[in-house]
Symmetry: C2
Subunit: 456 residues, 2 copies
C-alpha cells in the first residue's frame, strides 16, 4: 500500500531519554497551585508533606525544558514501550477518505492505558526517597492498576482507595490490583477520619472520586514513610506523559510525516498533554503549526462550558487550589461511560494553552462516541476504551470532512487504552439503552457559584 | 544489560510469507481422519461438505512443506503482528537464574490470544470460496472472539454457538463478539435439531463444548453458503499457527540465539504445534536438537495419562474420528480454570510426534500454575492467561533447575494470551479457594472403555 508500515515501533536506542517540559516554552506559564487556607502559592515545603521531594521539584519547575529519564524507569518502559504508532490503513479504507490517519496506541499493557508512564515515574522517586509506600485513589481502576504494577516491580507498598461503587461493580480491576500485591480499600472507609466522617453523615453512600482522594491524602500524611500520588491533572504527570508525544514525533519524523491535526481525549489532561507536548512546543516556539483538538464528553464539558478560574481539585477540599477550566468541584456529571473523563476540571497547563488560543476543544455525545468505537473496532481490530473513543469520534469526523473536501490531511490521535473492562457500556450501547446526558446551563451555573473566594 | 533488547519486533519485510507444514518432514505421518460410519479415511469430498475446499486441501496435504500466505491475510497479520519475542530479563532477575528466558507473546490483540492467526486464514478461504458465512463453537470465548474479528474484517457472517454456562457467566466475551457483529447463540439451543434433542433429553442443561460443536456443524451443513470452522486440533490450524514459531525463529536467528528448551501449553495443540513447528522441523531433519516440552493441566492429562487411539473429537459423535492421545470423548475434566486446555484429546500431529519420542510432556497442578502466573505478572508486568501459565510454570521450573546446576540454558516458551477475562479464577486463587482436581485412574479407565470400535 505504501512505504509506511502498519505499525511503527522505535528500536530501544531510538526511545526518548528525557521527558519534555512544555512549560519551558510557554510565555504565559500555568498559574501556580494555591494554599486553600492562605490563598498564597504552595511552597515546595508545603507540597513535600504530601508528595515526594523530586516530584515537587518537577511540579514547580516551569523553566527546565528537559528532564533526564532515570535508567531504572527506562528499563521499565522497555517492558511495554515503545508503544506502536499505527497507520490506520483499514479505517481509512472503511471511511473511503483521502485523509491519512495515525494513532499512538498506549493500551498494550496490563493496566490497559497510558497511566503506567507516570505511575512508574512516581513510584520510582518514592522508592528513591526511601519511602515505604504510596497511597492513591482510583475510580474505574486504570490508574490504580498502573500504580500497582509499578509498585510491585519496585517492591513498594501501595494502598489504593477505590470508589466503593466501582469496588463492588468492577471486581475485576480490583482483582488485578491484588495480583500485583496492592491493598485495595473501598471508599469511604473506616480506616480514615474523613472516611468515618462521611460514613457517619451519609450512611450507605457508594462514594465518589473526591472522597477517595481525601482518604488517600489523609492516609499518606498520617502514615510514616508514605506519600500521595495522583494520575492526572498535575504538571509532573504531563511531564512524564510527554513520552507519548516524543515517541510519536520521533516515529513520524523518521518517515517524514507531519500531522496537520492532533487529537486527544481530555479528562484531567494526562493523555492529551503528553501526546501534544513536543508538537505544542514547536508551535509555541513558532517552528511549526498544528491544529490541536481536545475532545471531551458532553456530559462533562470543562473546556467547552466551564470557567477558567481557581477551584478545588477534590470535593473534600483538602487539596491545593488549581487554576483551570472547571465546572465547579461540586459538579457531578450524569451517569455515563466516559470513565476517566469525568473530572470536573482540567490540567492547568492545558487550561492556560486553551485560554491563550493554542488549541481547540469540542464536546461529543456518548452515543456518537460508541458508534465511532464500534466502527473503529471492526476496521482496526482493537476494542477501544470509551475514553479513547472520544478522540476516535473526532478523528473520524475530521477524516469525513476530508472526504467532502478532497483534502489529504494527516491526522494523529491518541488511542489511550483498551475497552476490555468496559463491556457493560458496550452492551448498553448494543441494547439501545444508551443515552446522552448533557448538563443544563443551570446545573453548571449552580456548581460554578461555589468557586472558592480567592477568585475575588 | 545486554545487546538483546527487551522486545524483538520483526519489521514487516522480515515477517514470514509462507506457513510451514511440519507434516512434510515427519517420517511417520499423522494418522488420517476416519469416517465414523465406515471406518475409512475421510475423503476430500466428504470433508468439503463441512469445511472450505482450500482448507480441506491443507488438512489432507502431508507433503508440501510451505504454503504461501495470501497477501490479504498478511495485511491482516500486520494489524497485530509481528508479535514481540520478549527477553524476560525481569523474570530472570527475580528468579536469580543463569538461564536466559524468552517468550513469544501472542496476547496483544483484542481476542487476547494466538487464535486470531488461524481465524483470519479460515475466514479468508471461506470468503474466497464465495460463502456467506461460517459457524463455530466457543467455550470461554477466545476462539469465538478471534473468528468474529476476522469475519468482521472480511464482511463475512459469523454464527457462534457458545456453551450456555459460559454465555451466562462470561457476558463480556459474548459482548466483544457482538461488537464485531457476530450472532452468539447459547448452546444447546432450539435453533438446531441436535440442540432440541439435547434440551428435550436434559432440560435445564448448561451445555458442553461437545454439544456446541454438534450444533455448529449442523448449522453449517443445513444453511446454504455456510461452512464450519474449528480453532484447534486440526492439521490446518497447526499450519496457520506455524507463524508463531517462524517469527520466533527469525527473531532468535537474527540475534544468534538458539533455544535449548522449548515449552508450550497444550490443550488441542494449536499453540504448541505452531510455536515448535520450525524447530521441530530441524529436529526431524537432523539439523538441530531441542528439548521440547508440552505442558498440560493435571485435571486433563491427555498426553501424560491418555491413550494413543482413534476417538471422537466431540461428545455428540458427529465429527470424524481422529487418532490422538485421548482421555476418551466422554471424559469430563473437573471444574478448573485451565480454559482452553480442557479438551479430551490432542492434535494428531503432536500425538504422532510424542509417540515417536520427539517431545516430552508433563502435567502441572492448578495452584502451581497460578503461583507461577502471579510471579510472572509481578516481574514482567503482563497478566497471563491461565492456559499460558502452564507454560510459565514449566519455564520457571526449568530456570530454577539451571539455578541449582549453574547451567546457562536458553528457554523459549509461548505466552499465548492475557488473563483479562479470567479474573474470577485469580480471585479464587487469592482467596485460597483454589483446589487441584486430578482425575482418578478409574475416571480415565471408564471413559477410555468407550473408545470407538475402529481401534479393534
Amino acid at each position: 500500500m505504501s512505504e509506511i508500515p502498519y505499525k511503527i515501533y522505535l528500536s530501544e536506542d531510538e526511545m526518548p531519554t528525557s521527558w519534555y517540559n512544555l512549560r519551558a516554552d510557554m510565555k504565559n506559564k500555568p498559574a501556580p497551585l494555591l494554599n486553600p487556607g492562605t490563598g498564597q502559592p504552595m511552597t515546595a515545603q508545603e507540597l513535600e508533606g504530601v508528595f515526594c521531594a523530586e516530584l515537587v521539584r518537577q511540579e514547580l519547575d516551569n523553566d527546565t525544558p528537559l528532564f533526564h529519564i532515570p535508567q531504572e524507569i527506562r528499563d521499565f518502559y522497555k517492558m511495554y514501550r515503545p508503544s506502536p504508532l499505527v497507520r490506520a490503513y483499514c479505517l481509512e479504507k472503511k471511511l473511503d477518505t483521502p485523509a491519512k490517519i495515525y494513532y499512538k496506541f498506549e493500551g498494550n499493557n496490563t493496566s490497559g492505558s497510558h497511566k503506567l508512564n507516570s505511575a512508574i515515574a512516581q513510584a520510582y522517586y518514592a522508592k528513591k526517597q526511601g519511602l515505604k509506600g504510596v497511597t492513591t485513589e482510583t475510580g474505574a481502576g486504570q490508574w490504580g492498576t498502573a500504580l500497582s504494577m509499578a509498585c510491585s516491580y519496585l517492591g513498594l507498598d501501595c494502598k489504593v482507595f477505590m470508589v466503593k461503587c466501582s469496588y463492588e461493580q468492577k471486581p475485576f480491576r480490583r482483582e488485578v490490583m491484588r495480583v500485583y500485591g496492592s491493598s485495595v480499600t473501598p471508599s469511604p472507609s473506616e480506616t480514615t477520619q474523613v472516611g468515618k466522617k462521611i460514613l457517619a453523615e451519609f450512611p450507605g453512600t457508594t462514594g465518589s472520586l473526591g472522597c477517595a482522594i481525601s482518604e488517600a491524602v489523609e492516609a499518606a500524611v498520617s502514615n510514616e514513610g508514605y506519600r500521595y500520588v495522583l494520575g492526572s491533572v498535575l504538571n509532573q504527570v504531563l511531564l512524564h506523559q510527554s513520552v507519548i508525544g516524543l515517541e510519536s514525533k520521533i516515529a513520524m519524523d523518521k518517515y517524514g510525516v507531519k500531522p496537520d491535526i492532533i487529537i486527544g481525549c481530555a479528562g484531567g489532561g494526562s493523555n492529551l498533554g503528553g501526546l501534544i507536548a513536543p508538537f505544542m512546543g514547536q508551535k509555541l516556539r513558532g517552528e511549526a503549526d498544528y491544529r490541536i483538538i481536545a475532545v471531551e464528553p458532553e456530559s462533562c464539558p470543562s473546556f467547552t462550558r466551564g470557567k477558567y478560574a481557581y477551584d478545588f481539585c477534590d470535593t473534600g477540599m483538602v487539596c491545593p487550589l488549581a487554576k483551570m477550566y472547571t465546572l465547579g468541584s461540586s459538579f457531578i456529571p450524569s451517569a455515563d461511560h466516559a470513565g476517566g473523563l469525568r473530572f470536573h476540571g482540567m490540567s492547568s497547563i492545558l487550561s492556560q494553552l486553551y485560554a491563550d488560543g493554542y488549541m481547540e476543544a469540542r464536546s461529543v455525545p456518548q452515543t456518537g462516541v460508541f458508534e465511532a468505537a464500534e466502527l473503529f473496532a471492526r476496521a482496526e481490530g482493537t476494542l477501544p476504551a470509551p475514553e479513547s473513543s472520544h478522540a476516535i469520534r473526532a478523528a473520524i469526523d475530521e477524516a469525513l470532512k476530508c472526504k467532502e473536501t478532497g483534502e489529504e490531511k494527516t491526522i494523529l490521535f491518541g488511542l489511550t487504552g483498551t475497552g476490555y473492562f468496559d463491556l457493560v457500556a458496550y452492551e448498553k450501547f448494543h441494547n439501545g439503552e444508551m443515552t446522552n446526558n448533557v448538563p443544563t446551563d443551570e446545573d453548571i451555573a449552580k456548581s460554578l457559584a461555589r468557586l472558592p473566594e480567592v477568585n475575588g
